[in-house]
Symmetry: C2
Subunit: 195 residues, 2 copies
Amino acid sequence: MNYCSRCGAPVSLLIPSGDNRERHVCGQCGTIHYQNPKVVVGCIPEWEDRILLCRRAIQPRLGLWTLPAGFMERGETTEDGAARETLEEANARVRVGRLYSLFSLPHLDQVYMLFRARLLDLDFHPGEESLEVRLFTEAEIPWETLAFPTIRETLRLYFRDREGMYSGEIVREWGDAPRVRVIIHEGGRDDEHPL
Amino acid sequence: MNYCSRCGAPVSLLIPSGDNRERHVCGQCGTIHYQNPKVVVGCIPEWEDRILLCRRAIQPRLGLWTLPAGFMERGETTEDGAARETLEEANARVRVGRLYSLFSLPHLDQVYMLFRARLLDLDFHPGEESLEVRLFTEAEIPWETLAFPTIRETLRLYFRDREGMYSGEIVREWGDAPRVRVIIHEGGRDDEHPL
């Protein structure tokens, strides 16, 4: 951020009075431009013992499989957003149920919320952002070609315990081979950081 | 938003190619400036049969009681943010547990996430944003002077069922007397919009 989106003057990074973090502050009109994490909302669309996945037609992770999910938009609820993304990516209609997984990704400034959802019919087909959309049983899940760690972890948890609700974090670790570390906060399935 | 925060040129509201919503797009460098809801994270800090509330020293709702909560910051998890807000507003140390309530406020473009949390000691005192911090039993909760509908609804649910997890939405309704309508998505405690 270089310029004030309100008046166009240059901004500076400084700690405003009463705050304890650096913010971009306009030198002319004084507007403080807060930047906050974004919410990604999505569904686990269920049909009997199968769930719906989409193969991505866009970057990142083009060609890999994911649950339908995307950035929450202004003016909607988390559940509305999850249903909208499912409609956009898979042309699938769902009744959104309860929150299943909540993951923080502090290195990306994102919070993922994935909801259980019931498919209302089988009349789905790929949206513009998908190459392919299909139902998978647990045995058919393409574990090696899933697009994101949040999706892999959510599915891994889901097939062990659909009734629970899980929260956790996915941390990027740097080293010879950068990787992500997954920490599940409860449910007792990960002892890295139990709560 | 009037100017591009990257290059300082004027922005226009238009629907980018491949999108279906109006965005602020820079006429010079082409940057698309997405705007998304913000996350508010907070705690229900527990000590035996009492919970901690803070009386607000700042606007809005100065002088009214609230659970410690505030905007999630970049680089942190939802639980980290909830603990940080509790430390900032009440100088109270907590062990954050699981998510208790999730409320969407589409008219404010906010998502509230309130976590159960255990106070680690009784050595708390008001932070800069609080006039007063104290523990309340259920009978002592100042229902008439709570600051926000999300807080009132969370406490109302909490004292009926601490073990559940609730999601819902709070909708502003306009009329002779503007008011908010609370819709609980599950738990069977509100029949306006059961899921």
